[in-house]
Subunit: 307 residues, 2 copies
């Protein structure tokens, strides 16, 4: 099944203990698409500026990602500059230039209308809701958000949560959203806001999927996947979006959304996140094969399974 993803396509300048890269291709929708494309067809809705040229376009094309929904606007693309010099788990933002993204009004191409899977990456919840409402055929809708929207756009975000099947956020965001420092209680609080499933990403410690009440078809039981203990984290940028892409891409590739499929999806999310951080930007995600992905999936199983 095809996935439509709406989110940012951007340029990132990144500094980590492993070095520095200027203006890599980045953005949540980019990481998500490149992770999900190994599992299913992906269609992107975004806006870019005149600095988005053939080099960037070719990355999407080479992976069969549908970019009809990427609007070209006058001006520059979204730009982010950050570093992880002291702490690989938390970016220090040096610059955020919204540029053409500031006036982003998502438009859904007609060719995307039959997408049954919809991913609302981290953007203004007002836009997330608009895309959700314009996608009546979407039968599974997942999304992401961040502290900024949780803190200052709570009402708009709550409207989005009512229309979400699955929310993917991190520990801090979960606690902030629910206003509870205990993760399990916070997860319950978030599930009461609407989503049928909450996937909490723990960074280097993996992820936990919590299920809302009465959603037995979703698996019904809390499930935890590890992250791979990595000897070298070159660049953590996009790990969460890559997790989301692997998770949702795998789900979209399944004929039936069984409890087992959700469990494997959490594993595949962790697998794609572990690849993403091995090189700068999307470099590693661009050069994967399904065989490598499944080999790492096997490593994750071996890492955590008793038998």
């Amino acid at each position: 099944m095809a996935i439509t993803v709406v989110g940012s396509v951007a340029f990132d300048s990144i500094e980590t203990p492993a070095g520095r890269r200027e203006r890599c291709l980045g953005g949540a929708a980019t990481y998500f698409s490149l992770a999900a494309c190994y599992f299913t067809n992906v269609r992107v809705i975004a806006v870019v500026g005149e600095d988005f040229g053939p080099e960037q376009q070719s990355v999407f094309d080479a992976h069969g990602i549908d970019t009809q929904g990427i609007e070209r606007a006058a001006g520059k693309s979204f730009f982010w500059e950050g570093s992880y010099l002291e702490n690989l788990n938390e970016a220090k933002t040096h610059a955020t230039e919204l540029n053409v993204f500031g006036a982003f009004q998502p438009k859904i191409p007609d060719a995307y209308r039959d997408s049954e899977f919809l991913f609302l990456a981290n953007i203004d919840p007002v836009l997330q809701r608009r895309v959700r409402e314009a996608s009546p055929k979407a039968r599974l809708v997942a999304g992401d958000t961040m502290n900024y929207w949780i803190k200052d756009h709570r009402d708009a975000l709550k409207q989005v949560l009512k229309g979400l099947d699955i929310l993917l956020i991190n520990d801090t965001e979960t606690r902030m959203l629910a206003g509870n420092s205990n993760l399990v209680k916070a997860a319950r609080g978030v599930l009461d806001m609407g989503p049928r499933m909450l996937v909490v990403k723990h960074g280097e410690y993996g992820a936990t999927a919590f299920y809302g009440k009465g959603h037995d078809g979703f698996g019904a039981r809390t499930f935890r996947a590890p992250a791979l203990p990595l000897e070298e984290v070159v660049d953590p940028t996009g790990a969460g979006d890559s997790f989301a892409g692997g998770f949702f891409g795998y789900l979209a590739s399944q004929k039936e959304l069984t409890p087992g499929a959700f469990r494997r999806a959490v594993f595949y999310g962790s697998v794609m996140g572990s690849f993403a951080v091995e090189r700068f930007g999307t470099e590693r995600l661009q050069q994967l094969s399904r065989e490598e992905i499944d080999e790492r999936f096997g490593m994750f199983r071996e890492l955590t399974h008793l038998d």
Copy 2:
């Protein structure tokens, strides 16, 4: 097989968001023993003062823990006072009174000489080494340490590490001991110091077992167990020692130390840690049954296994 454990038996005054308790029975050897006693026979070497009375003794007796090696000295027992009001993952120490523990000289009762399993809880590495050397029959030796010994008694600690099969410490201690902020590289560094296996405890995120080179019999592959996502952490005191007790107790109960036994031991460690934090002090560990323990082991499996 019997385990001998050397470490502290103490009184703790603890404050957490769930309340306050004065002078609970505590100490690393106490938590370790109460966790391990559900799996195998446990023998304790420690020192206590005149404030250690029949009430405290009865806790050990009721669980069949051998206390011949607990010396009674004139004065007061080791006392610790701490709180977890802002952060359940890190204690704030308000008072540490070594009392009789300051002059502790471990003496191994003759009846303990045939113990094939030895656990060196977190005490002065000079004493750990002395007990190790006086236990030639120990065929599996595990131990713990803390930042204080790593920072200021590194040479003595390194001597201990050479005689250890298994070291159990947390993330921060692993990074500090190896002087490397990457956990995998730090684990390698620690394994180069002697232990054949390193179990890194991640608190609410579980634990990872790393194996030294050429120790295939030990399992040879990195293994990660989760912690149980808990709705209420009443008191985190002793969680790490309880982990060690469950881990080492289970190993000592096995006829053969197969790779699978080590994996299950990491799970049992996590299980016992999850019980310990459910009530103040050792309250929960005192009132367990093997059935409850195995039921929770099943929950851990379900939490992490794909099928």
